[in-house]
Every structure is written in C-alpha cells, then in structure tokens.
Amino acid sequence: MKYMKEYRDPQLAKKYLDEIKRTVTQDWTIMEVCGGQTHSLVKNGIIEMLPEQITMIHGPGCPVCVTPLNLIDKAIHLALDKNVILCSFGDMLRVPGSRMNLLEAKAKGADIRVLYSPLEAVKIAEENPEQDVVFFAVGFETTAPANALSVIHAHRKGLSNYSILASHVLVPPAMKAVINDEENQIDGFLAAGHVCTIMGNAEYYPLSEQHGVPIVVTGFEPLDVLQGILMVLRQLEADKTGVENQYSRIVKEEGNTEAQKMIFEVFEVKDQMWRGIGEIPDSGFALKDKYQAFDATKKYNVEIEEAPEHPDCISGQIMKGIKKPYECSQFGKKCKPTNPLGAPMVSSEGACAAYYHFSGLAEK
C-alpha cells in the first residue's frame, strides 16, 4: 500500500509542477492554512518552483505560535512556584514568555517534562500521587481528542492530581477571520488535512460559498501539497468555487465521529485568544463544567498580568499572511531559532523558522 514515501517521488512532483504551469493563466494568491504544509512547501523548495503567477501565503496554522503569551507565563508560574510537574509537548519549551521560556524555568529547577502524548501525563500523575501534574494542552482540532482522552482517563481513574492548562484553537473560525481581514486578498485555500481528519469537511462548505473561495482539504507530503495547489488552481481558472478533498486516503467527509464524541464529551466551544492575532469568536475549546476539576486555570486561579510582545516582532502580520518572514526587521538578525523573539521562529511549523532553516534567505 502506498502510505508515505511514495508521495515524495520527485519525478511525479515535476509532473504536477508542469501541469500547474500549463494550467495557470493569471495571478492567484493561495493560502496554506497549516504550518505543516508551510514546512513542506519551504523545505522541499516548492515555493521557488511554482510559476510566478502563484503566490503562496502562510496561514495561522501553528498552535505553538498562537498560544497566548499570558498562558506561557502561567505555565512557567505553575512550574516554578507550585508543587507541580508540568508536562508539555517539546516544541512549547522554547516559546518566549514575557520573562523567560519553559526551558529556562527548567534550568531554574522547575520539574518540566517533555512528553510525546498527553496519555503519558496521566501515567505520571498516577505514579506521583503526592504531586500535582499539569499538562500544557495546546493544539488544533487534531490534538483535541488526545487531550480530551487524557481527561477521560484521569476521570475514570479518579485522579485528583491531574489537570490540563488548555489552549485549543479551531481552524475554520480563524480562516474566516483571515478572509475578513481587509489587508488580505486570498483567492483559495489549502485546508489543513489533519484537522479535517477529526472534524470532517462540513464547516468548509459555507465558508467556501459565502466568500467565493475554493477550499481543498490537503495533506502534507510534497505530492499532496502540489496536488492541492493544482486542484485549487483548476477551480480558480474555471471560475468555480467549492470544497474538494485531496487527502481522501486519510480524511473522511464526516471526519472521525468517535474522536468528535470524545472532544464534545469534555470540551465546549468558546472565544479564544490567538497570540499575535487577537481574540477570535468561537475559535477555542474550554473544559465543560462536568470536568472543571481538571481545568488548571480554575484549580490554581493564577492571575498573571498581560505582558507586551517584543516591539519589533510582526508575528501577527506573518500569521495572517500579510507579511513574509523576511520582511521583518529582526528576521535572521536578532531573531533566530536559537534566540527567538516571537513564536513563529520557534516551532518548525512556524513560518519564520521554516524560512530561516530552508529558504536560504537568512544569513546564518
């Protein structure tokens, strides 16, 4: 069965590029929503190989990058000042907080553990009954079922020392916010395949219809993104708008209904702050009342003052696709992956880091 490396075949990628060149007749701007797609486009040099009529702009699709600064400060506070084992995905560790990042907090003695899965955090809580375990639960719809599952497991086991610091962000409301931003001219979208794996495609039909934009649910390998671009382009050139699924080997029209059940057992939709962008209505998940005991923000009731971002960082404009990383005055100068001033330079899915590592534009 073809399941991974086949989608990296350079010969076939060239065929796709040729077909894209043959199809395009005018200028188009296409946004790839997901940071994983940005990474794939930049890493594989696809951006430079596309015909110049096609401009790819990079969307807000990196949960690490949009996790509010204030929440990172909260996580650091919990890890340093409370009897807490703070568990997190690895890429959160170097995201700048207002005074330090999680890695620096760890160096100061905080018990911070990097995990592959939130389910491991539940095991840690079980093994350390005398300590509190907090999982820093960031992520898109893709990650929400796993985070929900950790709460369900902890609930089932009756663990009172487990909670999550949740920062969940939802993609379709963010796409809507980006389309409605007047500075943006987006002709079509590659939607984030793994988000749709969970939620299905239903939310994209009204978005496509109301805003007159083609939306193609797209995967992450080079051939996936190329095919996605070609599918958007074919719609644009034929003056059509609709929703198509490039990633049908993974994404079912209805998504994963078991996972949705899990999510909505634990979470409900709420307004959510996006770092660099601001509050977007109905774009996040909060724990339902039934699971309040697992909500770290309620359990510890820490109020931390809002701190300003680094004054030179234009990450908001980067994440809305209005500016490219190299247009930032600090890109590759003061701001590097080893010393990020803003979140998009941290995660490998952040646009600034992707450009830094792969585009050859930064002086290293």
Partner: protein
C-alpha cells in the same frame, strides 16, 4: 507539533483494566504505542495515522492511489503521453 504519521498496527492489547485498546504501531522500524479508542474498527495489519499517541484515522487503500491517478484522470487537458514512466509501479493497485 501537528505531526501525524502513518504506521502499521503490529499487535493490539487491552490496558487500563481492559477498558482501552492499545496498539503497537510500526513506523518503518520504530515501534510506538498508540491508543485505538478513536478507531474501534482498526485491527492488526491496518495502516493508521498516529498523532500524539492516539490513532486518529485508518489509511484508505483505494483512496491512497488517487494522487498517482489524478494526473492521468485530467490527462485529456494536455500532452501527458509519458506520464506512465513517472508513475510508481502498479503492483498492489
């Protein structure tokens, strides 16, 4: 962090007092555990997409060829006469 990779289920066992189906999934050499709670119909031998320790989708074998067939399907547009030489071998289709 949104990385999700496909792998093959090698074995399935019950954990958490037999309430949870866990799988050993092989990703080309590396084997990791993944919860099958979101995929009640996944079994040994299936390819599944795993994200942060949870299997979230079964890879659909018929659909998996579409990316390779797409150019052929729209071939009436241009001269794609030599497309076959670029296509992966057809075994398993």
């Amino acid at each position: 962090m949104c990385l999700a990779i496909p792998g093959k289920i090698e074995s399935v066992n019950l954990q958490y007092d037999d309430t949870v189906r866990m799988a050993k999934v092989s990703f080309g050499g590396i084997t990791k555990e993944a919860s099958l709670e979101m995929l009640p119909d996944a079994h040994v031998g299936d390819y599944v997409l795993v994200h942060v320790g949870v299997a979230i989708s079964k890879v659909n074998e018929q659909e998996a060829n579409k990316t390779f067939d797409y150019l052929e399907e729209i071939g009436d547009l241009g001269e794609l006469e030599d497309v076959d030489e670029y296509l992966p071998k057809k075994e398993g289709r």
